[in-house]
């Protein structure tokens, strides 16, 4: 297990609001550690629409979502935030001294004096198909919702399901790694990138992969570890295929996840906050951006930026109840640093 990370504020969520919170915390000389379930910073902006222009960021008549993330990373860099990416905060505990202890899915431990949840709509989790016994073979027993390391599949028999770009791309890539690749798609055509779809068809015609169209994986079988899948055609005909791994690739969808179990006041899967400082029902825990709710809430990035600024003032008072803080403009202090 890695060493415990110790910081002033742990920000859960590396979306635009979480990143701006790092900057605002830095202005108050507070150190930040940022955790996100996605493997890169930027949240929805990086994951869903990096090449789409945004028009309502003050000072930017138009900016690509990906460029906004890059700029926010540059803006918070002087404060040297640390990141744990690709891991989700799973365990959350408030200690007797008012500080917090967090642990991620991969065992990373973080202690901090305050927590800011900037989790957007929650963590992005794989869309799961309705396949019998799917969950029985999760957790290293044969079902993989993403390809972290292609080498894991070397010389293995794998079945990929899906019709989007991820399914096409990994089918093409793993055709040269796995011993046998079967791609199952419920439709007859692919509307992902045309060249990827063409490559899949070429590989199938050359006998290098097996392409099963108009079909779905419907059952998983195995004793402890996945051994076979049943593929059922839209015409009702079924066949059983032996395999080592099943890789359903149907994209990501946001889920609130473990945050819902942290005893915070929630309404409709959103965290109720006090708009004075965006504090939650648990002192020392704050929620900013799309994950919170209050009368008049607007789910806009620019509103999240405002919330981040006020939240950091509140967190500063929570961490240092005896210190007096006087607001200073960045134009007065010059280039920011911790």
């Amino acid at each position: 297990m890695s060493a415990v990370i110790s910081t002033d504020i742990c920000i859960i969520g590396a979306g635009p609001v979480g990143l701006f919170a790092v900057f605002e915390a830095g202005l108050l000389k507070l150190r930040c550690h940022v955790v996100d379930a996605l493997p890169q910073p930027g949240g929805q902006l990086s994951e869903i629409y990096p090449k789409k222009p945004i028009y309502d960021i003050p000072g930017y008549p138009e900016i690509l979502a990906g460029d906004l993330v890059d700029n926010l990373m540059k803006q918070c860099a002087p404060f040297h935030p640390t990141f744990t990416l690709g891991e989700r905060v799973e365990r959350f505990e408030k200690l007797a001294n008012g500080s917090f202890q967090l642990a991620t899915t991969d065992g990373t431990e973080i202690t901090c004096k305050a927590v800011a949840i900037a989790g957007g709509l929650g963590s992005f989790e794989p869309r799961k198909p309705a396949v019998e016994n799917l969950e029985r073979f999760e957790g290293g027993k044969g079902v993989h919702y993403m390809v972290r390391d292609p080498e894991h599949f070397r010389d293995k028999k794998i079945v990929i399901a899906g019709g989007g770009d991820s399914a096409l791309d990994w089918t093409n890539f793993l055709a040269g790694v796995a011993s046998e690749v079967t791609l199952v798609h419920r439709g007859t055509t692919f509307r992902g990138a045309a060249d990827s779809a063409e490559k899949v068809k070429t590989l199938a015609e050359a006998g290098k992969i097996k392409l099963v169209l108009s079909s779905n994986v419907t059952h998983l079988h195995g004793n402890g570890h996945l051994q076979e899948v049943t593929i059922t055609g839209n015409n009702g005909e079924a066949e059983t295929v032996p395999l080592d791994a099943f890789v359903p690739l149907f994209g990501l969808t946001p889920k609130l996840g473990p945050i819902g179990d942290w005893n915070l006041d929630l309404t409709d899967d959103a965290i109720v906050v006090n708009t004075e400082d965006y504090s939650t029902s648990l002192p020392g825990v704050y929620a900013i951006g799309d994950i919170n709710t209050y009368p008049g809430k607007l789910k806009l990035i620019l509103c999240g930026f405002h919330e981040a600024a006020l939240m950091c003032q509140g967190a500063f008072k929570y961490i240092f109840p005896d210190k007096k803080y006087t607001l200073k403009y960045t134009t007065v202090n010059g280039a920011p640093s911790l």
Binding site: Y49, K52, R127, G164, P254
Partner: protein, 106 residues
């Protein structure tokens, strides 16, 4: 411009009528959200997330999905013959009487 009626099938045989303005440039997704239906519409209406997936059950014919909408629908594990992304359906007087069901979130 007159308001139109959109029906949401909340349970088999149980339809809720929504009055929808057609002069505000709203999408079906925005109408559903405004009426507190639990769709996330994560991407805000860019056909990029499929969290506003609906099934069209009856009503006037709709324009064909764009390539972007098809590409997004194609990523879903479950797709119905009349699946659409509600963010891509612009409310228009021609859509009076449209009946939809909100698809189960995957």
């Amino acid at each position: 411009m007159e308001d139109i009626r959109i029906y949401v099938e909340e349970a088999p045989g149980q339809r809720r009528e929504l009055e929808a303005p057609t002069d505000m440039g709203l999408s079906l997704m925005e109408l559903l959200k405004a009426n507190d239906y639990p769709i996330q519409a994560t991407c805000g209406g860019m056909a990029l997330c499929a969290t506003c997936h609906v099934e069209v059950l009856a009503g006037p014919p709709l324009p064909e999905p764009s390539d972007d909408e098809w590409a997004m629908l194609d990523t879903l594990p479950v797709l119905h013959e009349t699946s659409r992304l509600s963010c891509q359906i612009r409310l228009h007087p021609n859509l009076d009487g449209l009946v939809v069901r909100i698809a189960d979130p995957a």
